[in-house]
Amino acid sequence: MDVENEKNKYDKIGFKCGLEIHLQLNTDKKLFCNCPNRRSRDFPITIARKIRPSAGELGKMDAAALQEFLRERKFSYLINPETSCLVEADEEPPREINRDALMVALSIAKALNCAIPDYIFVMRKVVADGSAVSGFQRTALIGMNGRMETKSGGVRIASLSLEEDSAAPAGEGAAYRLDRLGVPLIEIGTEADIKNPEQAKQAAEHIGTMLLGNRLRGIGAIRQDINVSIKGGARVEIKGMQELGAIEAVIENEIRRQQDLIKIKHELEKRKSLAPAMKDVTKLLINTQSNLMQKAIKDGGTVFAGILKGFAGLMARDCGGKTFGKELSSYAGVFGLGIIHSDEAGKFPFLADDFAKLRKEFSAGGGDLVFIVAGGNAETACEAVLKRAGQSIKCVPEETRAANPDGTSSYLRPLPGAARMYPETDVTAIKITAELLKKTKPPKSAGERLRLLEKILPKQMAGQMLKSEYLGLFEKLSARPREYNPVFVANILLSVMKDLKRKGVPVENISEDVIERMFSAEKSKIISKDFFTDIMIMEALSKGTPFEEVMKIKKVTEGELRSIVKDALARNPHLAREKKVSAVMGEVMKEVRGKMEGEKVLKIVKEEIEKCVTE
């Protein structure tokens, strides 16, 4: 039987897989303070902080590592006072744990058949990358030793914890925004019981469904990590899959990558050769024809070259959906650089001289590979590539990788050691009583949810809503006492949103909070149904404008609008020439925000640009 064969396939290769899922909860407030659980668009306050290694970490390090570690690291934190307070800024101790979040976590722990401790201790997990202002993330173990069923069999749950989300990276450099910091997050980790990629997806789906109605939607609201290993390979952690659909592809690619690496290892064993070496070749290649290298040198960087004996011809080999060359290069990628190697010398005829010089310098034979790294961190990057190449003779390295949107993955960092944790002394232990556990509401199954939806929505719409990312919001808005017409709400959340998305409007900018306020404003006749779509467009496009402003719709006539658009084009003729619709749109919206339906503005802007260009 095919299905059986398929399953045996994973057995045969010794496939082992565990899943770790992070889901943001949609509580009103954050986990350890009373800031609203919503995101900001503008951040008027910036503070600068340094993180030093905490005392507890100093234990086992060698001198060199300690030296590196003792260096202070500087970070910028961007703050909007509406969504962050002194607690996030590490200027005030945390408040008590958010009860709503605790109750959700307990109910899920129960539903996953976890053992729940009698006392829950909030811990500090040391985080040194700056994503926690305090230098640690607060986390509490809510349940352990659980079990869930999937179509392909049972999966044990190792742990369920409730923790605060980290600060989100903001743009370039070591900057973070604090609006996400402190958002309640449930982390569920399974044992390595998952037998095949399909089951991994089923398990993730199962957990996702349990939390429908309690979790946030949108980018980053669910983050899935997997641990994969095969016989002869190694445990590799792949982080950051935001979509369910990606899981199977990422796992398949990882299996292939480990198999490919094992093949390369065997090949290298046959060639029996490795004496990796590297050199600073900035002076040797000073007359290079490569603009890239010239620029690197001009900017004060260096050029380093390495030799990998016996590696010639291997760079084009498959490696989990990429080439082995790309894989090696990704280790330089951690330092913002890439490598150019002699296997691809044919592609760069202007480097022929350089490669000839390098071959001579290293006394390289025909079976050897030389490569070049140029830039500020060239030495470190070159070292990282050499080290990785060295490992390929022995094994598949254990490491943490980041999932790419195309289903492949890239090297991120070594596997983390056991988490450093110590008690969060500012929060008292939480007593879990039988009465409290009785008050938890078991999560609804998908079938149950559908039945409830079908009571208030036409059948087809109910089915769509069940799959919609707005399900949680819809359930909230259609809860009793019923304030809004469910069909009207569902129509906005399903068709209107979908339509806008199709037209390229960034609807992910519209927070659930704003949508809720819109329905409320519509009910109290502050805005009219006809303007719903337009307000959505404006909200999605208006960076930093308070929603109250966005809602104040007043009309301008089409004639007035055309002259505003023409003025804007006259002021910025290059925008018209380059057909920068969104830039022009931005200019125009500054003046007509709230005064004209966004769709119409878009249409007229496009028309006027066309006119301008043809004139």
């Binding site: 902080r49 905490s54 005392a55 507890g56 100093l58 401790p117 201790f121 110590y422 008292t428």
Partner: protein, 460 residues
């Protein structure tokens, strides 16, 4: 010790031969929990640290079985990650370098030196001076460092005798050639200590800088490092002398302010930049990582190691603070007089007022309050007036209320901080006669009173 396990649990531990730090297996119903036994934090509950690092608590009762784990991992984990959380630092050794100044760090406790206490689950002060040095290796690059553990206490627990012990040790260290002193201190009453030291130690030849932290040193985001290193950098690279406080200038890491000993105050319960200059400007701004010192006032006394420090160390403990509020009652004052208090600082309203005017039947008690103040002065209590507005200057000539109080002999404290006035009064009454104390209370001795009220000295 009250935080130990209860007798019942201790008995069970003994029976199964398990001690704190051992690896245990706990069985409760179908559930099995395995980890290291932690000290008790919640009554009737066994706390264990799981291999994942999490602590959990399991109520100990019928049907719970505990045994020592057969797994041998116990000791291994204990060594790498001790219960004290790895704070057994190597002894910090330093060779004396003639070209560098010598800084003596006197350690008193507080958040700057605190770590986790597994018993209470709270934060306690207990880093040894050696720990501090190994945590902040930059210190050794700036100066020869001598360290000494004076106390391990929260600053709110300090009494005048601690100020005296500190002052003595400072003088000692100066005699032994120190080019500057750093005092690590809890922040709650640091401004009381700085004022006390300023009064006790006249004409200091070198700087004495108090340093605290609002985030404990065990976390990556601690402000202790910057405060301590800035103080050391300032001592090593400036010609300042006298007592001052060194703390964060704002919420960002970067610069610290060197704040006047008698005109600074903790103005926030938890922020890094809690210490602000009041009715004054900071002496200087220090950014050690940019190697920058910027003096904001130039009228400081220059360092001169030949100068001899003059010490007057006594403090009168029978001095009280009385905060004026609506309905404040005369019995408060009467009680202090009866208990033979020698001085009191009234924290008055506005320009230095108290409810003393009887305007009708609802305010008759105000007259009693006035009378009690009058009687206190007559009985020889030195009564001083500072303002609860914190900022600004007491002026008791503007309203009749102030004039009436002046008439009874209440001494206005000008723009002195109430806390400074309290310390100064205690010091004056300890070292001088009553009349001399009254006279000196109104005179500026250590920068506690400024002649002019600067226009740019509010809410900085």
């Amino acid at each position: 010790m009250k935080n130990d396990y209860s007798r019942q649990i201790r008995k069970a531990l003994k029976k199964s031969g398990v001690g704190i730090g051992d690896r245990v297996v706990l069985r409760k119903g179908e559930n099995i929990f395995e980890g290291l036994l932690m000290p008790s934090t919640e009554p009737g509950t066994v706390a264990i640290k799981l291999d994942s690092g999490y602590n959990i608590g399991i109520r100990f009762g019928k049907g719970v079985k505990m045994e020592k784990s057969k797994s041998a991992e116990t000791k291994k984990i204990m060594e790498g990650e001790s219960l004290e959380f790895g704070m057994r630092a190597k002894k910090a050794e330093q060779k004396f370098d003639n070209s560098k100044p010598t800084i003596s760090i006197l350690h008193t406790g507080g958040t700057i030196a605190s770590r986790v206490d597994y018993r209470t689950g709270g934060v306690v002060s207990s880093f040894s001076p050696e720990d501090l040095l190994s945590m902040f290796p930059e210190l050794k690059e700036m100066a020869n460092i001598r360290t000494q553990l004076m106390f391990s206490m929260f600053s709110e627990d300090m009494r005048f005798s601690h100020y005296q012990a500190l002052a003595k040790e400072i003088a000692n260290e100066i005699r032994n050639g120190a080019d500057g002193i750093i005092i690590t201190h809890g922040t709650d009453t640091m401004h009381y200590t700085s004022a006390a030291l300023a009064f006790m130690l006249q004409s200091l030849p070198v700087p004495v800088i108090l340093v605290g932290a609002q985030r404990s040193s065990d976390r990556g985001s601690t402000d202790a490092a910057q405060n301590l290193l800035s103080a050391a950098y300032f001592i090593a690279n400036s010609d300042f002398s006298g007592v001052a406080i060194c703390m964060h200038e704002n919420s960002s890491d970067g610069s610290c302010l060197i704040l006047p000993a008698c005109k600074s105050r903790k103005m926030h319960a938890s922020r890094r930049d809690a210490f602000r200059p009041i009715n004054a400007k900071p002496w200087a701004r220090v950014n050690y990582s940019d190697s920058r010192i910027e003096f904001l006032k130039k009228d400081y006394v220059r360092k001169d190691k030949k100068r001899k420090v003059k010490m007057k160390m006594k403090m009168e403990e029978k001095v009280a603070f009385v905060k004026i509020s609506p309905c404040v009652d005369s019995s408060l004052i009467n009680f202090l007089v009866k208990k033979k208090y020698k001085g009191m600082v009234l924290e008055g309203t506005g320009l230095g007022h108290a409810p003393i005017n009887a305007l009708g039947k609802f305010t008759e008690k105000n007259r009693l309050f006035f009378d009690s103040l009058k009687r206190a002065v007559e009985k020889g209590v030195v009564v001083c007036m500072a303002s609860q507005t914190i900022y600004g200057r007491v002026n008791m000539s503007v309203y009749s209320t102030g004039r009436d109080l002046l008439e009874t002999g209440v001494i206005p404290c000008e723009d002195m901080l109430p806390e400074t006035a309290f310390i100064k009064l205690a010091w004056l009454l300890g070292n001088f006669g009553k009349e001399k104390a009254k006279e000196l209370m109104r005179k500026n001795l250590r920068g506690e009173i400024s002649e002019r009220s600067g226009i740019d000295e509010f809410l900085n």
